[in-house]
């Protein structure tokens, strides 16, 4: 079984008795096994372990699943505060099907979107549908997916590639891991539809080596799809053939950048290349290449089956669809939560997350990984979407939300991220390589109580230079944690400075 995302309550156990609702048990231990077996043998479920019941479920691409009725005293799924504000589109099957069994994926409507695309739609129809959905890149940059596909499609080349970027490198973010581990076939299906639209015959899944289970499940999924004729020659009898290869990343944050990722697949050190030419013109092995993040691909089957118009109604203005966020750090209910884009931070942190651990006050959230910023509690009405998070000095990134309570030093947090990006800088361009090193030195000096006001000015100046002059996204966003903490938590820097004057 995959994971439904309520990590705080793990381990979870699902029980389905014929004609009865699906029951999710929580915080189960080995000691509970006997009680569970006894209850099930008697046609019952252990009440004190029951988290919630699911009577029916809409997997969006297929027919509604009807589990059954009964066990009315167990709370319904929609009554659980952690689940209530959520909307599952990406994680539509996660925790409900066996990710290692293609038949279960097919049973919930899997590969029917591929069938529809290959038999009833032209490649242009597919691209138009994706454009109409308003789907934007879930890796963080938010570029419209349909538009991106169109660029690679219009290139005249006999060989084109598509790549799934599964090098989830943001510390504090693990939604892509769950998407791969819980429902690998939806990624394959999304890629197959994309390949058909773009005109690519080969695809590469670039996964970080730190995710062995994800790799194993995708390998299994690829094998099963091949056995069923869903990968290979003339899929569904159409004039469309496609093969998929897994390439493993080896632990370099910068490889999330698409040109660095391509260099890595080609067996080089993952250093970004200047754009243009964009991968759409000259990508893997010099051929037109389209790269999308794992989560972007997972939305495609839903868009094809339910229509772009349906999809565009979810979320906010110019921010259609949902996003899976990893809610972690000093928050009561940790886990993976999927909400419509433009949901306020407050809903995420308080309604879903239930605030701080043991009721502690929350000071800020850090979104978007090392390239993101820290957002103070006073701005928790900010909608979580591409534009609004950027406006407050952070970014959406891949969807990491790290909650920090009053005990967290924001200067130390800024130093943590600059330490990270300084180490992960590939060293190719000077502003990033040298600039971050100096920022780190100043932050260390600040934490040691030895910095002056002039140092703060230098820190801000350096941030501007690194942002404007770096070659790739890593450098262009690396100063964000410093700039946002200087903007919202300047007093914490000042307290450290005062010591220097004494």
């Amino acid at each position: 079984m995959g994971c439904i995302g309520y990590c705080r309550e793990e381990p979870l156990v699902n029980i389905h008795l014929p004609g009865k609702p699906l029951i999710i048990l929580h915080r189960v231990t080995e000691k509970d096994a006997e009680e569970i077996v006894r209850a099930v043998a008697a046609g019952e479920v252990p009440r004190k372990l029951s988290l919630c019941r699911i009577n029916d479920w809409d997997p969006l691409v297929g027919e509604k699943l009807l589990f059954g009725e009964g066990f009315q005293d167990v709370p319904a799924y929609a009554e659980i505060p952690y689940f209530a504000p959520q909307r599952k589109v990406v994680l539509r099957d996660a925790g409900l099907i066996n990710p290692e069994d293609i038949d279960e994926y097919i049973a919930v409507g899997g590969y029917s979107a591929l069938y529809k695309a290959l038999t009833r739609m032209s490649p242009d129809d597919v691209i138009e549908e994706v454009k109409a959905s308003g789907l934007r890149g879930r890796g963080g940059a938010g570029f419209p997916t349909g538009l991106k596909w169109g660029f690679t499609k219009k290139e005249k080349s006999s060989t084109k590639y598509i790549i799934c970027n599964a090098d989830e490198g943001d510390p504090g973010a693990y939604m892509n891991r769950n998407e791969m581990e819980s429902d690998p076939h939806m990624i394959l299906e999304g890629m197959l539809i994309g390949a058909y639209a773009i005109g690519a015959r080969e695809g590469v899944l670039y996964i970080r080596a730190e995710y062995p289970l994800a790799i194993q499940r995708l390998e299994k999924a690829i094998g099963q799809a091949r056995d069923y004729g869903l990968l290979g020659e003339n899929i569904f009898g159409a004039d469309f053939s496609f093969t998929l290869t897994i390439a493993e990343g080896a632990g370099a944050f910068v490889c999330g950048e698409e040109t660095a990722l391509i260099a890595s697949i080609e067996g080089e050190t993952g250093r970004p290349r200047p754009r243009p030419p964009f991968p759409a013109q000259k990508g893997l092995w010099g051929m037109p290449t389209n790269i999308n993040n794992v989560e972007t691909w997972t939305n495609i089957p839903v868009i094809i089956n339910r229509g772009g118009a349906w999809f565009s109604k979810i979320g906010g203005e110019r921010n259609s669809g949902t996003k899976v966020f990893s809610l972690v750090g000093e928050v009561d209910r940790v886990g993976l939560a999927e909400v419509p884009l433009s949901t306020p931070i407050r809903t995420m942190v308080y309604d879903i997350g239930n605030g701080g651990i043991e009721g502690k006050a929350i000071k800020a959230v850090q979104t978007g990984g090392p390239s993101g910023g820290c957002i103070p509690a006073s701005l928790f009405d900010t909608p979580m979407d591409y534009e609004h998070l950027t406006a407050v000095g952070s970014i959406m990134g891949s969807g990491g939300v790290v909650v920090m309570d009053a005990g967290t030093s924001m200067v130390d947090t800024a130093r943590f991220f600059i330490g990270f990006t300084n180490e992960e800088s590939c060293g190719k361009c000077v502003p990033c390589r040298e600039g971050l090193k100096h920022m780190l030195m100043i932050l260390d000096k600040t934490l040691a109580g030895k910095a002056t006001e002039t140092d703060m000015q230098t820190l801000e100046e350096l941030s501007g230079v690194i942002k404007n002059a770096s070659l790739c996204g890593l450098g262009q966003t690396a100063p964000n944690p410093v700039l946002s903490t200087l903007r919202y938590f300047r007093d914490e820097y000042n307290t450290l400075l005062k010591k220097a004057r004494k």
Binding site: D170, E210, T269, V328, G329, F417, G419, E423
Partner: protein
Amino acid sequence: METARLNEIVESYPTPTGKILGILEQVQREDGYLQKDVLKTLAEKLEVPLSELYSIATFYSFFTLEKLGRHVVTVCMGTACHVRGAPALADTLKALLKVEEDETTQDGKFQLTTADNDFTVTSARCFGACSMAPVLRVDNKIFGYMTPERIPAVLKQFGWEEDTHQNA
């Protein structure tokens, strides 16, 4: 690594896509590190300069050129773990296993092996197990919700013995 096994690994990559990194990763997994001789053999087989393999081996954090201890203890240094106390875990491990950093690294990354070669303590960027932060990994086993106090019990599962002579 035996040459026959190395040949097998190389032959398991029929296309150049993901080949070089894939081969090095498999060698790293099986040998625990990248031996100089193996890299030399590979350079000839793949017809790439040894310097290029060296630059790959040192660029990506997955690879190591030094032999690791029998058990590898990895402290996750991701954001969620950092916020929930990973630095204290690292300090406790270093103290218990009596390994010292010979030089202070700016980035907080480290790789230290005990004198008896039983344990290597190292850091990782993020396991993606953020919900259980802070997290330790010993070999392939993940230990979540860690505290410095719980570390001795974890290490004992892997044959570590508390040094009682010190207090005697």
